[in-house]
């Protein structure tokens, strides 16, 4: 029996490789977008896929496809914020800079019968709570925080991705962590999480 082989065009091969990459990365991109733009995640991922497909031929190293897609996603998020008229800029966080959640929990001692008050505090938060806390941070600080501590990129990679000097990135990350600590406490206060057994 003679089998007919169907030759695939280079364009079709590229399209197949793109589809394979996109499907592999879809869940990760969506999770990242949920933390960066909340309920608009689907729109942002859709835009990311469109832009990425258009420029796929310019991706030299397909093994770096995940980071490449993340960079496009972050740019789509920034455009999304711009469209909403939100300016991505430095904000005053001087008070947050010196805030220590560790000390705050120790001083306030919200769970006096606990032997591990700090761990118990964190265990009050579910994934939706964490997302709400992240959403309250300025984008400038939320983006590095999410990329480094949730998506697992190295600080240097994120500095390159966002095209800012490493020192600037480290400063934003520091402020982002401190603002996150402060917001965790405020959120817990507002939502009644500082009571023994609040979530049990």
């Amino acid at each position: 029996m003679v089998r007919a082989t169907v030759a695939t065009s280079p364009e079709q091969e590229a399209a197949d490789r793109f589809r394979s990459l996109a499907e592999r990365e879809l869940a990760r991109l969506y999770a990242l977008a949920r933390r960066l733009v909340g309920d608009d995640a689907e729109d942002v991922v859709q835009e990311t896929l469109l832009r990425a497909y258009r420029s796929f031929s310019r991706l030299d190293d397909e093994s770096a496809g995940g980071t490449w897609l993340t960079t496009i996603l972050v740019n789509c998020c920034r455009d999304h914020w711009r469209k909403q008229g939100r300016r991505v800029e430095e904000v005053e966080l001087d008070e947050a800079d010196d805030f220590s959640l560790f000390r705050k929990i120790a001083d306030e001692d919200p769970f006096p019968y606990s032997d591990s008050v700090h761990v118990d505090f964190l265990q009050q938060f579910g994934t939706e709570d964490v997302r709400a806390v992240l959403a309250s941070l300025p984008e400038l600080y939320r983006v590095p925080l999410v990329l480094v501590h949730m998506a697992g990129y190295h600080v240097k990679e994120v500095a390159y991705m966002l095209d800012v000097p490493l020192g600037t990135m480290l400063a934003r990350l520091h402020r982002g962590r401190k603002a996150f600590e402060r917001e965790l406490w405020s959120y817990a206060e507002r939502n009644g999480l500082l009571k023994e057994g609040a979530r049990t």
């Binding site: 689907e42 896929l49 497909y53 964190l122 480094v148 501590h149 990350l173």
Partner: protein, 77 residues
């Protein structure tokens, strides 16, 4: 010798391995005698793990279906 405030400011970077060698030594020197900052360090590590554990999301079936359709449509263009 560095103060507690200076040490605390660098603890996350210390855990991330992005402090310079000279600063790393100063942080470690401080941690060797300051119990409170050791607590801060442990908590910073807990917070890092906390963020990482809340990083994933299931893509809802309807969202996945729509995004898959998007992929099919952009290939046809």
């Amino acid at each position: 010798m560095i103060t507690c405030a200076e040490a605390v400011r660098q603890l996350w970077d210390y855990l991330d391995g992005v402090v310079e060698e000279s600063q790393r030594e100063l942080v470690e020197e401080h941690l060797a005698f300051c119990r409170r900052c050791c607590g801060e360090l442990e908590f910073a590590d807990e917070l890092r793990a906390f963020l990482a554990t809340h990083a994933a999301d299931e893509v809802p079936a309807d969202v996945r279906a729509r995004l898959t359709t998007t992929l099919q449509e952009i290939e046809r263009r």
